[in-house]
Point group: C3
Chain length 146, copies 3
Amino acid sequence: MFRNLRSLLALMGVVLLACQSGGALAAKLPASPTYRVVFAVTENDPHVWAEVFGNFRNIQRALGPENVAIEMVVYGDAIAMLRDDSLVPNKVEEAMEEGVKIVACENTMKAQNLTRDTMLPNIDYVEAGIVELIKLQAAGWAYVRP
Amino acid sequence: MFRNLRSLLALMGVVLLACQSGGALAAKLPASPTYRVVFAVTENDPHVWAEVFGNFRNIQRALGPENVAIEMVVYGDAIAMLRDDSLVPNKVEEAMEEGVKIVACENTMKAQNLTRDTMLPNIDYVEAGIVELIKLQAAGWAYVRP
Amino acid sequence: MFRNLRSLLALMGVVLLACQSGGALAAKLPASPTYRVVFAVTENDPHVWAEVFGNFRNIQRALGPENVAIEMVVYGDAIAMLRDDSLVPNKVEEAMEEGVKIVACENTMKAQNLTRDTMLPNIDYVEAGIVELIKLQAAGWAYVRP
């Protein structure tokens, strides 16, 4: 019995680690949304970023936050948006609080010698942003290129 | 019998109102197209617009106008294309005559203090252009970002 | 029996011609990929092109070349990439060797008075690049606009 409890605790530890590596915010996406949309942001242009954050609000207002999953994949020159010296840290934080999943491309980070400790807190990561775009569309997500 | 006729006329009135609010041009989309494509135009760049209008012709020539539904969603800085001082009013008119549905984003209009009476005639409207893009893709439309 | 053999040879000839007109490289696409993605390249911007060629490598590394079909449709101002005076002939050649299908838009070529003998060797052609994008998305391909 004691042996089983130890096994259970070990299992819980593994689960906990898995959740941490995936990011706590991913779980904020609505459980069974009618609509799913991924934004592909590649430009280092705060004007474009402002439009995208405005899009998030308009989408959630029109469809209801519980009915739409929104993910933003940030790669290429746009990665500056998610560095800890970002021009829009508050916008990023607010979007995540509203249930938008924000994902940085680790291939881009490697190319620019960026590590996770130089990035904004609580964001999610994927190995290749471009692959995320392909996988989500294959799973039925709409794609928006701002 | 007279009563039934009045009911019929009332119903016809409702249908007529519904058609008007949807815009007369929406009905020009082909009834059962094999292909459906939505263009998302966001830039205030007549060079880009010219390419898009050329795309419409090429698509209809290649597939046959009856086999493809084309919709253009205009939002963000591109809204200038649909104002009554547009640089390309004839192109917009011609596209609609060829069966292309042209839609202005009312969120963008509000942000720029534009009202419907300052826009080109006969265009269609949606509350949020970005939501239209999501809904059409969810319904199987192809997406093109010029 | 001899008659049947002649019929068979004639049929093989037809099949061979059909394969040639489709381009030898098309056959390099994986036979039954899990994922399929089309890149729509319209800009005459070698910086954008370099990112796209980098995307191809990242996609094949992440998913395995046999699991993903990649096609690049080049039209509009981007057609300069595929002319015989291209700035990136080696990149184009390498991508095709890695199984990426590279397609030039003949409508664009006509508009710029380009003929096939002024283009890079071994690329594929479609009448209208924009129609290719619509058809591939209708067939379930993901779309990426760099």
